[in-house]
Symmetry: C2
Subunit: 233 residues, 2 copies
DNA sequence: CGGTACGTTGAGTCATATCAACCATAGTGG
DNA sequence: CCACTATGGTTGATATGACTCAACGTACCG
């Protein structure tokens, strides 16, 4: 973890225009800039753990973070990823509960840490921001609900195909189908909710059938419609 | 569906003090009362279906509603239940997406239908309400995340035990362990995410081991700690 | 050069789904 | 009033998807 003394101002942050902060007044933005701490975190470092009382939340400036829960036997279940423009930790801040997820850097990232107080003030005093944040949460909730249905009803093969589609949508703009996120087989299995060996077998099946191309952790989607068909979407 | 001409005023609604509306100003409450429509819905009736564009949301005055998603092959996955004091449909209103769940009455209920506009105004103009609603959404999101982990990692037996615990917590105050909600075996299987036959077999196993007592759809919890142990919680 | 983490493959096992038959109950219509 | 039908519940037999275990290959790193 390394503190940056030349913090990027939020004004010039290229993520802001797509983020939750896009409608803030100048004063509000200024308030954030005065109070935020910007840090670089290396791959593998933990931002916060399950059970932590959060004193603030984070805005992702660059990099990728995996957000997971630890199950009874210690197996991690990846809930989602955060990428530039996303915020993490806000859920626990708002509901004032200990964090129910652990967040770990999987691609070196720059994070802006923002105190809880600022979030509360924004929600209370800026109706548009409150609505924006509500929309975000509601969207996440909808996705979580859909994932419950999927995991409960679909086979591992269908789920893997679906996850590949989602990863492609989220992480491979203009890269011709190469997933711009590097995951171990075990991490893939922790998204899908299955055993590592199952993922390996299914990936090589998808490869042999021409749906994907494999090169270590690089995965290239060759036949997206085909995968969609497998995934029933 | 039957309209009640003598709507209960929100002032005197006994649910309000525990609900999202507990901190509203008098004027805001009055605004709701002027615009709401109160209706009685019989068991089995659908309040809204997946894909519907919502023009408002509902506050549950009495009864129980099941909220589910329909999977690829038509099998329903029950996401949660709504009981007196809960609100339904607000997620789609806020995120301005078509409803992603279907809601069906499982115990005759009285619902207050409230226009979307009122919800937006409250979020925008009443910071405390916005915060309260955010808290609710964040709590639901946390629960959804936990359920993803459970469904992905626990066995059917563990999940059924856990669901029975949850149903007991939610639906059997002062009824000595008798679940105050009547569900078919199929509905139980649609919560747990398994086949009806599996539920039947497991319920009779739990019964034979003295964890529960069965009488048609009436389920009585005899050994809650035992069930918690099975569920790993 | 050995160590550690990750990836792969095969074989065996088990939990759970599926299929099929049957019973109980309640509501329906002639 | 009784056959008729629909719905829900139960049980047993069978099939299979997915997990587990074990062995081994591979690559990177200090």
């Amino acid at each position: 973890m390394q503190e940056n003394f030349f913090d990027l101002s939020c004004d010039s942050c290229t993520n802001r225009t797509h983020s939750i902060f896009r409608h803030l007044a100048e004063g509000e933005l200024h308030e954030i800039m005065l109070n935020k701490i910007t840090e670089t975190h290396k791959r593998g470092s933990i931002i916060y753990r399950e059970g932590t009382r959060m004193k603030g939340f984070c805005c992702v400036q660059s990099g990728i973070i995996k957000i997971y829960q630890t199950g009874f036997d210690g197996k991690e279940q990846i809930i989602r990823f955060a990428k530039p423009g996303d915020i993490i930790g806000y859920r626990s801040v708002i509901s004032n509960e200990p964090a129910c997820t652990t967040t770990e850097v999987i691609k070196e990232c720059v994070l802006c840490h923002i105190p809880a107080k600022i979030l509360f003030n924004l929600v209370k005093n800026n109706g548009d921001f409150a609505l924006e944040l509500m929309k975000l949460t509601c969207k996440e909730l909808g996705e979580a609900n859909s994932y419950i249905t999927d995991i409960a009803q679909k086979t591992v093969k269908e789920r893997l195909a679906e996850i590949l589609i989602h990863l492609d949508d989220e992480f491979s703009e203009d890269s011709q189908g190469i997933l711009n996120i590097s995951l171990t087989r075990e991490e893939l299995s922790n998204i899908v909710g299955t055993a590592t060996e199952s993922i390996i077998r299914l990936l090589s099946e998808f490869k042999s059938r021409g749906y994907i191309e494999l090169n270590g952790r690089k995965i290239k989607i060759l036949d997206k419609p085909g995968l969609k068909h497998i995934a029933n979407i």
